[in-house]
């Protein structure tokens, strides 16, 4: 088997390959959405409120962007194991566990980037919104809406991080054939089995996805310029 078979697998839409890609996308997309639901409000809160210890929270949040995936994987593995505190949920070695692990990885990124974006925009908008007597709820909604392009870019960054990582999901997912095997964990497995063509095929798909994400990010920036100047 040479590299020809890798391309062949990709182009013919080999069902096993397709299932792996589908699971990868589903896990990472779910994680990013959950992380956004958690991270954007936290980012907005940090941007718009002042409280004692706020600076420390921001430093910690920024540091959490660099959490090593294997460490996160290990922590969640211990938590979800039947012998662990959340064992009764029975989530270890399931796709849900992978979503949880990636959410933990991505939420700090989204929160930190949201905070920066919203804080910068708030500095710009502050006086005008005050002059228009805008209440706190409407203020947050306005900032999030007007910052939507930057926030979407933050989500894309989060998705990129999730889609590319392998350390966390291989530990909490167990890389079970047909259930918790994603592109990255499959690449790790096939490489260790010496089945390089399949690994290369998966790698090609993964890189294609990364390219698409970046193209989307570029498209978002262009839209932003067109709409908001």
């Amino acid at each position: 088997m040479g590299d020809g078979s890798a391309l062949h697998l990709v182009l013919t839409g080999d069902p096993a390959l397709f299932a792996i890609v589908e699971l990868s996308l589903l896990v990472s997309l779910s994680a990013v959405l959950l992380a956004a639901v958690i991270g954007v409000p936290i980012g907005a809160l940090l941007a718009l409120t002042r409280f004692r210890g706020r600076e420390i929270v921001i430093v910690v949040l920024n540091a959490m962007m660099g959490l090593p995936p294997v460490v996160v994987g290990l922590a969640i593995f211990l938590a979800l194991s039947r012998s662990g505190p959340l064992g009764a949920w029975g989530l270890l070695f399931t796709p849900q566990a992978m979503v949880i692990a990636q959410t933990v990885l991505v939420a700090p990124i989204i929160a930190a980037l949201s905070r920066q974006t919203i804080e910068d925009l708030w500095a710009e908008y502050r006086e005008e919104l005050a002059a228009m007597n805008i209440g706190p709820v409407r203020r947050v909604a306005t900032l999030i809406w007007d910052a939507r392009f930057s926030l979407v870019t933050a989500l894309l960054a989060g998705f990129g991080r999730a889609a590319a990582e392998v350390g966390a999901i291989i530990i909490v997912g167990g890389n079970i054939d047909g259930f918790t095997r994603t592109m990255t964990t499959a690449i790790a497995l096939e490489t260790s089995k010496g089945d390089l063509p399949l690994a290369v095929g998966l790698g090609m798909v993964l890189i294609a996805i990364v390219v698409v994400i970046n193209a989307l990010a570029w498209g978002v920036r262009r839209s932003a310029e067109r709409v908001a100047g």
Binding site: Y125, A131, R138, T142, A228, G229
Partner: protein, 240 residues
């Protein structure tokens, strides 16, 4: 004619604004009443901007009192302000005005039409779709004015509304100020252009280093200023 503002007269008594070590406004006592535009003049740093913001109710006083028609609390429903460097919302020109209309409680169905009217009033019709941040300086100033007018204010504060604009733009804005003033809106504005003060003012307030130097009806002030600083300022001398 709009209903006269329920915020007038604005009575300021012994008001000071202190930030850290700096006294920006120093024991001011003055009154703004209904009628023709009140114009604040004075060198840079004299406190004009801070006074406008305090009168709008945006910043608290460190000492002293300010009341609006006898009330202590600011209820800025029919008040609006245009800042010296207005911030454009990241939307279209029309979108900025519609946002201001929404903030003022105008129902969604009426916003589009009203925004078009306001843009026409300030001479920006045809630019409704353009992103506001891509307007020229003068156009942005006019948009900020349209946003302020969207609130249907009875009381309008303008902070150096024509600073750094070319004469054609200055004339356009002054015409708008005159027309809305004629319709019953009370305008309180600052300027460092004496000619503009002469053209627009009903009464003049001269500030210097946070202190009130003189407040008088415009024709009185310009023909016979009561203070030495007033005379020097009119003569174009530097007040140090």
């Amino acid at each position: 004619m709009r209903a006269p503002s329920t915020d007038l007269p604005i009575v300021i008594v012994d008001a000071s604004v202190v930030a850290g070590q700096t006294t920006i406004l120093n024991r001011l006592t003055l009154t703004f009443s209904a009628g023709a535009p009140s114009v604040l003049i004075g060198p840079n740093g004299s406190g004009k901007t801070t006074l406008l913001r305090a009168a709008m109710g945006l910043i608290p006083l460190t000492r002293g009192r300010i009341t609006w028609a006898g009330r202590e609390e600011a209820a800025p429903e029919r008040r609006a302000i245009v800042f010296q460097r207005p911030a454009m919302l990241r939307r279209s020109t029309g979108g900025n005005v519609r946002y201001a209309l929404a903030a003022a409680g105008v129902p969604r169905a009426k916003r589009h039409e009203r925004a078009a009217e306001l843009l026409k009033l300030v001479g920006l019709e045809g630019l409704a779709r353009r992103p506001a941040r891509r307007l020229s300086g003068g156009e942005q100033q006019r948009l900020a004015l349209a946003r302020a007018l969207a609130r249907d204010p009875a009381l309008l504060f303008l902070d150096e509304p024509t600073a750094s604009l070319d004469p054609a733009a200055i004339k356009a804005i002054e015409d708008i100020i005159r027309s809305i003033s004629a319709r019953g809106v009370k305008v309180i504005m600052s300027t460092h252009d004496l000619g503009q003060a002469r053209r627009l003012a009903g009464d003049v307030t001269l500030l210097h280093r946070g202190r009130l130097i003189e407040q008088a009806p415009a024709d009185e002030f310009f023909s016979a200023p009561r203070t030495q600083e007033g005379a020097k300022f009119i003569a174009g001398e530097l007040l140090v």
